[in-house]
Symmetry: C2
Amino acid sequence: MSSLKTVDSIIHARWLIPVEPNDVIYENHALVMQQGKILDILPSAECEQTYQSDDVCQLNTHALIPGLINAHTHAAMNLLKGYADDYQLMHWLEKYIWPAEQKWVSEEFVYDGSSLAFAEMIQSGTTCFADMYFYPEIAAKVAKEIGLRACIGLIVIDFPSAWASSAEEYLDKGLALHDQINEWPLISSMFAPHSTYTVSDAALKKIATLSNELNIPIQTHLHETKLEVEDCLKLHKLRPLQRLENLGLVSSSLIAVHMTEINKDDIKTLANNGVHVVHCPESNLKLASGLCPVAQLQDSNVNVCIGTDGAASNNDLSMIGEMRTTALIGKIVAQSAEALTARTVLEMATINGAKALAIDKLTGSLKIGKAADVVAINLDELANIPVYEPISQLIYTCQNSNVTHVWVNGKILLNNKQLCTINESALKLKAADWQRKISSTIN
Amino acid sequence: MSSLKTVDSIIHARWLIPVEPNDVIYENHALVMQQGKILDILPSAECEQTYQSDDVCQLNTHALIPGLINAHTHAAMNLLKGYADDYQLMHWLEKYIWPAEQKWVSEEFVYDGSSLAFAEMIQSGTTCFADMYFYPEIAAKVAKEIGLRACIGLIVIDFPSAWASSAEEYLDKGLALHDQINEWPLISSMFAPHSTYTVSDAALKKIATLSNELNIPIQTHLHETKLEVEDCLKLHKLRPLQRLENLGLVSSSLIAVHMTEINKDDIKTLANNGVHVVHCPESNLKLASGLCPVAQLQDSNVNVCIGTDGAASNNDLSMIGEMRTTALIGKIVAQSAEALTARTVLEMATINGAKALAIDKLTGSLKIGKAADVVAINLDELANIPVYEPISQLIYTCQNSNVTHVWVNGKILLNNKQLCTINESALKLKAADWQRKISSTIN
């Protein structure tokens, strides 16, 4: 027995879907974790001859997949989910969302809203997210405490908020936060100018320069609606993407969120500059914003990943559901049932997200040497069987309840559906408190 | 105590959403069941002064809704879910589905496939379904055994199958089945000519006559794709709906499934004749068939309900998920976030389905005197809170796992997520058996 190497954890699973390479599914394999990393992937039988651990997890009806990456959300808005549904975008914002935010957004709001969001993310197999909201230092802190991987948006907007009063102050606070969280192993940052219609040329130019100097990605809402594009054309005689190009923001550091209203020139610009696109299908549908031509973008070699957007316009943060919607809606938009296959969509939700956030060397696939960001999906519920093809069942038949285990950087966050780093009942009390307060806004 | 009336069952719930009337949500109310029917709906406090029962269910964080009605499915195809995904419709049918059906469809296939489907339906809050498949007598028998409400399609198609060899034989067998199941309290029947392109004029005319005489609804796939409409125009110089009109099938007994490719005249025909439409959004998306203009139909007072279609083109039978997709996709098609509100979609999945199947006097809403077809949804998961508006949370944040209890005709089929009338482990073994057999078809 002394010849066996002792390791931190071993997970045996019925299927292991590494995503890289993308045409392989391993059966009856083990994933070996050591010091937060994937040390080995090998047949279970061979594993038993090679490794030993005090922490062995046997998942006989499960598929292991890379942790899902939610490439665009506003986590704290979780407290506003269902607060105002079935309204037009501007009415929704002006009459409900902005007044509620104006009144309630605070450190405490962001702490509790982010906690609730992160719990839902873990329960639905998300191990990493890109966030854009006020008080980003709080979201970063909660993510660190709970153990999620995060890319925290350094928000910039020309409107004053409880967090900052001018674009300069947003930027200054953001840069200070960047310096602080730079040291935290699971947290990175990105500039997050809200949109071209809420941030001035001067601030956008400054962000371009800083992004270049500090090598920080930039995420922004872009071409979310036809109206946004039309307004920009009226005001600037440029489409929003062209405006960003002129200001020096269009590069492989740019992560463009939404991109529903795009033409051939836009696609060329995105492709030629290596811009990443975050597709948020459920938010785009729910707000009737538009439809992103994902297959067309992919045919032009644009990297497209997936985001849920905030829970106020979705209304959930499930990447399991968002993958399914991505596949379904992608086919009708492309007018082909062969577009956006289950396999393609799984890549979008994992490695493509990692590429957009510039952390693909670290995560996004189950590859030896990468971080052990791993999710176990039980495919043995009645709604999932028979299993002819595990990736098909994952994309087309799974729901959050199929997610049983989640590890981030080798640490278990969900163990047999139990949250390990979050006190669920305390969180429910907090949510009930906020519900009482926020309900009073419109009463 | 002697003044209390003894009843079969009492359910106390945090919210009770009756659907009829559609603008009411009762809080802290009780639903009283007696002999399979809803005897009373009243405040819980009042209920305790009025009724007593050995069977009292206390659901403090749940919403009670009418059982969901899946107005179009092919239940037995559950055994083929995930068998062939991401293919174009005709390739999918000709290369995969039809050969597998040719080889495997039998009494046993339909028994096991239907059982698996019904288990999934119950787990996702469906209490009634309309089915179209071979061996309908088997589906009827299984539904009766398990306790689901069903409208069984008397399938007619010009192709021979293991069940029947000609349109006449299909019809004869169907009529015999109709006579038989007419006596069963939870089962009704409908003629189910497969489509205008697979059933001859003669058979369709005969069905029109019989439907009239026997007062049986007719369900058929109609205007599912652009190609179907174009082919019919070439062959008959008529759109499929016009062809049915000429043959005498267009009336309030007609249940038209899909209707993605329709023009203003079609809508007028549907509206003027009281034709019911079954919207199957997920199947339409997955096969890239087209988009049904639901809001437009509703504006013209056409009754639109919801179906999942078969699991081979969905790939689940969840009406919870189908309602969400209906709301999301309905908004983008109508280009308005205000279209297809959560409330409208819940009506589509309940009372509208009952109207289409001509059983709305019996079920489809929580109304005193109707059958006790009731579903309890727990809204206290982290993904559902805060709850500002229960119907919004139901449509936009719920998944199958929120469904905790299901009653049909007063009988409990799902008790705290446990199936009461189905042996789950036996069913899993059957599914595994079929997987082995069916996989061999393409190998």
